[in-house]
């Protein structure tokens, strides 16, 4: 049994890595799209098998525990559905000549390397390895954001690159400081970077050094989470890259950085004399939420609109985890899952919409429910969900965030609810224009793959109506780990 369970961890790393090598060698674009889907499906199955197989003991480099399984399964699931969406999206891009066959070969190989980087970041037990994995995932997305080689795409990629590099540099400095704090207690060498060792001995670390380290880590990885005021790369990168990449950026890459922050937050919590990570995260979360909520009003580009909405939701999630405690952590975790599913579904719809309308400008897209009912209603459901209306999943998680805040720090609930309402207004205002009224823009029939977006939305709907008891128990357990 032990041998097989080791295989599951190896599989979620090796399948994407091997697939990347194969995809780089295959010339036929139809074939590569299919291989991409199959590889993503296999990775998902390997990730699901983590639930049933016995887990290996944490090693010096890799770890599987209850916390990261949630992230891995979510990551591979959205990775798989996005690859299905990507196949139909890319076919259209090829027809219109925005991408060429060599571009696609590169794109698919990069897609799998990115999945590899993200999975590696989730399973790494070594804070140095985690840093390298996050850097790898970032680099591949930078390359994909710039794939159209237009003026705008290059600018977005450049900005993402520079800001991402500064963020990653700060995160590395924080990582070095953690090592410095650990070294007198754990001793020199690899062990002082192994997370499962660090967490046991964190109580004896120098609290001041650990606190400074966390500030650097929060700023560094926070840049990648897209927290204001370090978010400047995020809207550009979302708007100018291919839409499947916008979907994985919002749905997955932000979670990877968030996961890194959470791991380090646990270290801080284990050291009683270090500064509480909570207030810092609450402040950054609230700032992002309110800032992004106001920014939603002035958007003219549809992908940019939803990019700001991602900043808003990451703000809510970081706020919830910053509050801490079983209920807020549960709410944060649920919100993260719901946001990933909903936001990627929205981007799937937006990708096809931008293709049929030939534009991303909000003012030139009208009456989608009439001209393209399938896409239009998917967008309506998605936006209603992301705005936090019942009975969809995000309503429930937002409700839990707000009620747990009311119970513990009623004053904090005021800015939180204020931000949520502002964002709600902006999203519904834009939605009415996009989805209803006289159709405007291209009316060509669309060859969209509806399955990914509607399956995501169905899951979000199901979660809003009824969460199965085992799932609730699992989330509660993970929320308990997060302290």
């Amino acid at each position: 049994m032990t041998a097989f369970s080791f295989d599951a961890v190896a599989a979620i790393l090796l399948i994407p890595a091997a697939a990347a090598a194969i995809l780089a060698a295959l010339p036929n674009y139809k074939m590569t799209a299919i291989v991409n889907v199959i590889a993503s499906l296999l990775t998902l199955l390997a990730a699901l098998s983590l639930f049933v197989t016995e887990r290996p003991a944490p090693g010096q480099y890799l770890i599987v525990d209850d916390l990261n399984i949630v992230f891995i399964v979510l990551n591979t699931f959205v990775g798989f559905t996005t690859s299905v969406f990507s196949a139909s999206y890319i076919a259209h891009e090829l027809e219109t000549g925005r991408l060429t066959a060599p571009n696609l070969r590169f794109y698919h190989a990069m897609y799998q390397i990115m999945m590899f980087g993200m999975n590696l970041a989730f399973v790494s037990n070594n804070i140095g390895l985690m840093w390298v994995a996050v850097e790898l995932a970032t680099l591949t997305t930078v390359l994909m954001v710039g794939i159209y080689r237009t003026h705008e795409a290059l600018e977005a990629a450049w900005k993402y690159f520079i800001l991402g590099s500064v963020g990653i540099a700060l995160a590395l400095f924080g990582t070095i400081l953690v090592y410095m704090a650990a070294q007198p207690v754990v001793g020199e060498g690899t062990n002082a970077m192994v997370w499962s060792v660090l967490i046991e001995k964190a109580a004896h670390f120098d609290p001041a050094l650990l606190s400074v380290a966390f500030i650097f880590l929060l700023l560094g990885y926070g840049t990648k989470v897209g927290l204001a005021p370090l978010h400047a790369w995020l809207p550009d990168a979302h708007a100018e890259g291919p839409t499947p990449i916008s979907a994985v950026l919002s749905g997955l890459l932000l979670n990877v950085a968030l996961y890194a922050v959470l791991r380090f937050k646990l270290l801080l919590t284990a050291s009683p004399e270090a500064i509480g990570p909570g207030p810092l995260m609450v402040t950054m979360g609230l700032t992002s939420l309110i800032f992004a909520a106001f920014m939603l009003y002035r958007r003219r580009d549809i992908k940019r609109l939803f990019a700001y909405s991602s900043i808003e939701h990451m703000g809510i999630i970081v706020f919830a985890f910053g509050m801490g405690g079983p209920l807020a952590n549960f709410a944060g975790l649920l919100h993260m899952v719901m946001h990933s599913l909903t936001k990627s579904a929205i981007f799937f719809a937006v990708g096809h919409i931008a293709q049929v309308k030939g534009t991303q400008k909000i003012s030139e897209i009208r009456g989608l429910t009439e001209s393209h009912p399938g896409l239009g209603w998917a967008l309506v459901i998605g936006v209603v969900a992301i705005a936090g209306l019942p009975p969809l999943g995000i309503f429930m998680s937002e409700f839990l965030v707000v009620s747990s805040t009311f119970a513990r720090h009623p004053w904090l609930a005021i800015p939180l609810v204020f931000g949520l309402l502002i964002a709600f207004g902006a999203l519904l205002l834009r939605l009415t224009g996009l989805a209803f009224g006289e159709p405007r823009g291209g009316t060509a029939p669309v060859e969209a793959s509806y399955v990914p977006m509607y399956s995501h939305l169905a899951l979000v709907f199901a979660a809003g109506v009824y969460l199965p008891a085992p799932l609730v128990a699992w989330f509660q357990h993970v929320a308990g780990i997060l302290g």
Partner: protein, 220 residues
């Protein structure tokens, strides 16, 4: 720890901060790149000295990377790029030299006060290395924000990264230092190739990042 080895390590790390300051007031691209090459040479010496006193042979690799890649390959490459792009004129600094130097002094003071205060129990050498490293990182960030030119921002980022390497080598026995310095070299190579291959000059008609900023898709 023997007094002389400590003094030499201290001297090299301190010179690195000094060279970072020299970068702040260079107003020509070629001069800036030459100062960066000097920065990399001092870093290589400092890392090699750490390798010697810690008896950590793998750090010699990091020192060699710093010397060959950052002090020779990158500066030569950047020189050629600048000539190709025809931008060897003055750097447009967004902030004047006087305020920049004052800000630099402030940042170094800040990092000294911060790092020396939080690490009273650490090994004195590692502790000072860390304080110097943070100064270099902050000065690198300062170079990045005070310059509007893409090439000089890259130089600022590379000096920032030198600070990280100094911190990583100063932390005794830290694993993965070589791997991380290799990862960073790849990152930098990407950036430099990016400036050139993505034809920032051609596409944007200027390497001035201010011009890149004009396109936002929403300012109309």
């Amino acid at each position: 720890m023997n007094g002389l080895t400590f003094d030499i390590a201290h001297l090299l790390a301190g010179s690195l901060v000094l060279v970072s300051f020299m970068m702040l007031y260079q107003d020509r691209l070629f001069a800036l790149i030459n100062v960066f090459a000097l920065h990399a040479v001092v870093l290589a010496l400092s890392v090699a000295w750490q390798a010697y006193i810690q008896d950590a042979h793998h750090l010699y690799i990091t020192a060699a990377i710093a010397l060959v890649f950052k002090a020779i390959v990158i500066p030569v490459g950047l020189h050629r790029i600048i000539q190709r792009l025809g931008i060897h004129r003055d750097i447009e600094t967004a902030v004047g030299i006087g305020p920049t130097m004052l800000a630099g002094i402030g940042l170094v003071t800040l990092s000294m006060v911060l790092m020396l205060r939080v690490t009273p129990e650490a090994d004195p050498l590692a502790r000072e290395d860390l304080a110097f490293a943070l100064s270099i990182i902050l000065l690198g960030l300062l170079v990045m924000v005070t310059r509007r030119n893409a090439v000089s921002q890259v130089v600022g980022f590379m000096s920032l990264e030198n600070g990280l390497v100094l911190a990583a080598t100063g932390a005794k026995g830290m694993p993965l230092v070589v791997e991380i310095s290799v990862a960073f070299s790849i990152l930098i190579a990407f950036i430099v190739i990016g400036v050139f291959l993505f034809r920032i000059r051609e596409r944007f008609d200027s390497v001035d990042v201010g011009a890149l900023d004009d396109y936002r898709g929403e300012r109309r």
